[in-house]
């Protein structure tokens, strides 16, 4: 039949109206409902899917991922089997990238503040306008010769983004600072001192036999958890003898739960314990003695002061235990000692870490299989591999400058300084003395909500980029990040929507007429150009006779790596820093903040999946809780769900009590990352922020914040709320009466 134009319009209108009506009824995602009473809808496979390789930017460890894309939408994240870091596995947070991509509260275009600073009222502006405003301010600064008062704070940015930022700031003459909430500057210093390495080494857990870890929650959040877990799987049940795993910690973490023996040590005493172990090894003539002599003499260290029986009382570990660990550690090599986490977060953090890592020399597991394996020199000379991270001391200086009004423009990218810096730093007040606060974040985190100007960047799944893992696998790796989907807000035109951070800097540079010295007009080309030298070197995992072929290979494999390019053996003598006892503030309870499986250090707080991920030990979700020893709780009449006030000299927060049998007495563990003032519907005003009340104790040796050295008092507010945990509330901890988990002893014991 012939349809006249008029009829057609009426039909169209009618159907449109119908659609609207049905929409109004709010039938949920009904395009996905298959109404057949006999077939499982899963039996009807629909559509074709593609898998694109890229790099996960949710956390620093740089896992390679493949993303399943159907009809231009990202559906599923899985590990990239080829990628050396995670070999196909992935963590909770990689998966959650999808929800950060499609998060309902993403910033949809450049914004300028209209209301009070921090009022969170913004107006959409065009990119030209936004870049114009920023460049204007920067121009003024440079013209008035105060260009060094422009400060850029980024997350620990490495690879090409890091390069561009560095170049931009250096050419412009401003300052670039790297920020990490629970900073690891101490750790990096320790690695430098003990191993003489600039790059973090790799730990060969896969082949080690006795694993001795101090405070590092390495199976959960610390370092490169997925890579370590891969190793751990082999370590437990591989084609090898089952390894033994000692975990020394003053909190019962998930890693501690997986250890064969969890050794509780008083907070900050790990270094002393390490030296005591060393003393046993040396005095009993086990292990590599001249290495021992070397570093004792070199550090003029009197080991006998650390004879177990002398210090056992002080550190709260039995002398027998120490001996046993030491002997096991020295005799049944290859052995490996790792330290990190809260261990490095004390006023004597650097000493702890150096002492711990030095143990590896005694058993000859430095740069050997089953031990500490060094990472080689970076892939490129000009691209920084070591992310820039500044210590708390530096930030205190910055705050000083800000107060003094000598910071003209503060630019922030991916660094939620507002949320992460303790009130004791005075940053929050000082921020109001800064005339211009610019955020490049693609998401309305706390700092962005305080800013005057927002230049939102792409989500990493929409974006070009590269990644050189902070903690490499022992050989050269370059991860290539490619857009797996078109930018979500592309439809809003080139003047609105989001942009690549590198591109923004490049166009900013051209506005300011400064030359970044890279012959490329966008970031994609920057990456492309610099990988040419890999193509020329014609080595490693991807080779091709044409550069185009090479580039495609990179994109397909998700990166480039060269197992041949390993570190050359260096023999250094570890430099231990001065043995010292930890210093604590006043208060009854040790406060040990910890990062959680889900939201990590707080950067994941906006993502519902991560919020809903149960904490492995307490199974709590969505909330801020206090791990407290059951006997303490009994003593203080605290029951699960009671609202607890945690007060330090800096301030106080509220959290829900969750007594657990693993928590040591007079120690409270509190997860970081909640209590955002912004951060979208899933994070805003949820829980409370433990960072805020950390005291400004500083590890004088490294300048790092001693974030585990705060002591607090806790008290019941009198209110109590249901704890949103996967497990039900119990008066007695579940004991597995029915032996769902059956245990057997190893054959050799």
């Amino acid at each position: 039949m012939a349809i006249t134009r008029r009829q057609f319009l009426t039909y169209a209108g009618g159907s449109a109206a119908g659609a609207v009506i049905f929409q109004a009824c709010g039938v949920p995602a009904d395009e996905l409902l298959v109404q057949s009473p006999v077939e499982m809808p899963e039996d009807m496979v629909s559509g074709l899917d593609n898998w694109y390789a890229t790099v996960c930017k949710q956390c620093g460890s740089g896992e390679g991922i493949v993303v399943r894309v159907m009809e231009g939408r990202a559906k599923k994240v899985e590990g990239n089997v080829d990628h050396p870091i995670n070999q196909g596995s992935h963590s909770v947070r990689c998966e959650a990238g999808l929800q950060s991509l499609y998060h309902p509260d993403r910033i949809r275009s450049p914004l300028v503040r209209v209301g009070e600073r921090g009022s969170g009222q913004f107006r959409e502006i065009s990119w030209d306008d936004a870049i114009g405003r920023l460049s204007l301010q920067l121009k003024n600064l440079s013209e008035s010769g105060k260009s060094n008062s422009a400060v850029m704070i980024t997350d620990p940015a490495s690879a090409h983004i890091g390069m561009i930022v560095d170049r931009f700031m250096s050419v412009y003459g401003g300052r670039h600072m790297g920020y990490e909430p629970l900073e690891r500057t101490g750790l990096r210093r320790a690695v430098k001192q003990v191993f003489g390495q600039d790059v973090m080494p790799d730990f060969d857990i896969k082949n080690t036999n006795v694993l001795l870890s101090f405070g590092a929650d390495f199976l959960n959040t610390w370092g490169s958890p997925v890579r370590y877990s891969r190793g751990y799987g082999e370590f437990r049940q591989g084609d090898r003898k089952r390894g033994t795993f000692y975990h020394v910690d003053s909190r019962f973490s998930m890693t501690a739960a997986n250890a064969d023996n969890w050794v509780y040590v008083k907070p900050g005493m790990e270094g002393i314990l390490a030296l005591s172990i060393a003393q046993v090894i040396v005095s009993e003539g086990l292990g590599d003695l001249d290495a021992a002599r070397q570093f004792t003499e070199n550090n003029s260290l009197d080991l006998d002061a650390f004879e177990p029986s002398k210090i056992s009382q002080k550190i709260g570990v039995g002398a027998e235990t120490i001996r046993h660990i030491a002997e096991d550690f020295a005799k049944h090599g290859p052995s490996l000692a790792i330290g990190g986490g809260a261990t490095g977060g004390h006023s004597n953090g650097l000493f702890n870490l150096t002492a711990i890592y030095a143990l590896n020399y005694l058993v000859g597991s430095v740069n050997n299989p089953g031990g500490v394996v060094f990472n080689p020199a970076p892939v490129f000379e000009d691209v920084p591999v070591v992310p820039r991270v500044d210590s708390f001391l530096d930030f205190q200086r910055l705050v000083g400058d800000m107060k003094a009004g000598s910071v003209g423009a503060l630019m922030v990218r991916n660094a939620d300084v507002w949320h992460g810096l303790s009130d004791s730093s005075g940053f929050k007040d000082a921020l109001f003395d800064v005339p211009l606060l610019v955020s490049f974040s693609g998401f309305m985190d706390d700092t962005t909500s305080m800013s005057d100007l927002v230049l939102p960047e792409h989500n990493y799944l929409e974006d070009w980029g590269s990644d050189i893992p902070d903690i490499g696998p022992g050989y050269q790796v370059l991860g290539i990040q490619q857009p797996v989907v078109r930018p979500f807000f592309e439809s809003r035109g080139s003047q609105l929507g989001t942009r690549n951070f590198g591109d923004v800097l490049i166009s900013l540079a051209s506005e300011l007429e400064i030359d970044l010295g890279l012959d490329a007009e966008n970031f994609q080309d920057v990456v492309k150009n610099s990988v040419r030298e890999l193509y020329d070197s014609n080595s490693g995992s991807v080779r091709s006779d044409s550069f185009a072929g090479f580039w495609n290979g990179l994109l397909q494999r998700g990166g480039w790596w060269d197992t041949a390019a390993i570190a050359d053996n260096v023999s250094t003598i570890p430099i231990l820093s001065e043995p010292q006892d930890p210093v604590f503030g006043g208060g009854e309870f040790h406060l040990i903040p910890f990062t959680t499986t889900g939201i990590g250090d707080g950067s994941g707080a906006s993502i519902p999946w991560l919020q809903a991920t149960p904490d492995p030990i307490s199974t709590v979700t969505w909330q801020t809780w206090v791990e407290i020893n059951m006997k303490d709780a009994e003593r203080m009449g605290i029951e699960e769900g009671d609202v607890i006030e945690i007060s330090s000299s800096v301030g106080s927060i509220e959290a829900l009590a969750v007594p657990n049998p693993g928590a040591p007495p007079l120690t409270v563990g509190v997860p970081v990352g909640q209590g955002h003032r912004a951060g979208g519907r899933y994070a805003k005003d949820r829980g409370s922020n433990i960072y805020a009340i950390l005291e400004a104790n500083i590890d004088s040796a490294s300048g790092a914040l001693a974030w585990a050295s705060t002591k607090v008092n806790i008290s019941r507010v009198g209110r109590s709320e249901p704890v949103s945990k996967l497990e039900n509330t119990y008066s007695e901890p579940p004991r597995d009466e029915e032996q769902l988990i059956i245990k057997i002893t190893p054959l050799d014991s």
Binding site: L32, E42, V92, A96, G238, W609, D736
Partner: protein
């Protein structure tokens, strides 16, 4: 119904081997499953109401008190029992055994008596107490191969049957043999697991041999407990699960023998 005509699928029997000694409780499997299977977002309320849906959940069990305290992790999900107690009690055949040993749930058949949930000894079945909702933009992530379950019906682990279907269909189209250790085929949780504690496969194939080795208690390389650690959870109920657990190795464990 679910048999695919003209193929050899019917003589496959999907199953899983879970190594408790490897499981670290990192929850990667949980989120992977939720992303693959359009599991509704578990909001705070769902947890406090004890209605959170996790097709695979990590149970944590305490042993002892501080200082000598231990916590164990146990991944629990539908065991796809051959003698599934949930199947006979469903009045409308919403759940039944298909030809590949999978215990399948036909969502649209379900009328929500919740009888199956009561009769599942593993408590692996979850009920949609509320209508699942997503913000408009998050719907872009939903997996088109998996339906969204409306309120009032049961749901549970399907061993990612949609992946099995897709890869078998592909192998049919390419005329290739379907090989069992294949990431396109194995469930999301298995692919995610960072310690490789989960192993998916065909109990009539390689996995079956491995499982038999574990269950019969011999095999194993040197002294690293390889064979002999296998057991079925709650074996004395005679549900004949298709999931084999491998015992936790613990130097301090007092030796306990599995029942049955």
């Amino acid at each position: 119904m679910l048999e695919r005509q003209g193929t050899d699928m019917a003589d496959q029997k999907w199953g899983m081997v879970v190594d408790i000694d490897k499981c670290t409780g990192c929850q990667a499997c949980v989120v992977a499953c939720q992303s693959e299977n359009n599991v509704p977002i578990n909001e705070e309320g769902h947890f406090t109401q004890r209605r959170a849906i996790e097709w695979i959940r990590i149970e944590r069990v305490w042993e002892g008190e501080f200082p000598d305290v231990k916590a164990r992790f146990l991944p629990v999900f539908c065991q796809h029992c051959d003698e599934a107690p949930c199947e006979p009690v469903c009045p409308v055949y919403a759940t039944y055994h298909n030809s590949e040993g999978l215990n399948v749930q036909v969502y649209n058949r379900c009328i929500g008596t919740r009888f199956c949930a009561n009769n599942c000894p593993y408590q692996a079945r979850y009920f949609n107490f509320w209508e699942p909702t997503w913000p408009e933009s998050l719907k872009n992530q939903l997996n088109p191969d998996v339906t969204v379950r409306s309120r009032g019906i049961m749901e549970k682990c399907t061993f990612c049957i949609q992946r099995i279907r897709r890869s078998t269909r592909d192998s049919d189209r390419e005329g290739t043999e379907l090989e069992e250790d294949n990431r396109a085929l194995s469930p999301a949780c298995v692919n995610a697991c960072p310690t490789q504690a989960l192993k998916f496969g065909d109990l009539n194939g390689h996995l079956g041999e491995e499982a038999a080795e574990h269950l019969e208690g011999h095999g194993g390389h040197g002294d690293s407990h390889h064979g002999g650690r296998g057991y079925h959870m709650l074996d004395s109920l005679g549900t004949h699960p298709n999931v084999i657990y491998l015992k936790k190795v613990d130097p301090s464990a007092e030796e306990v023998e599995a029942h049955g």
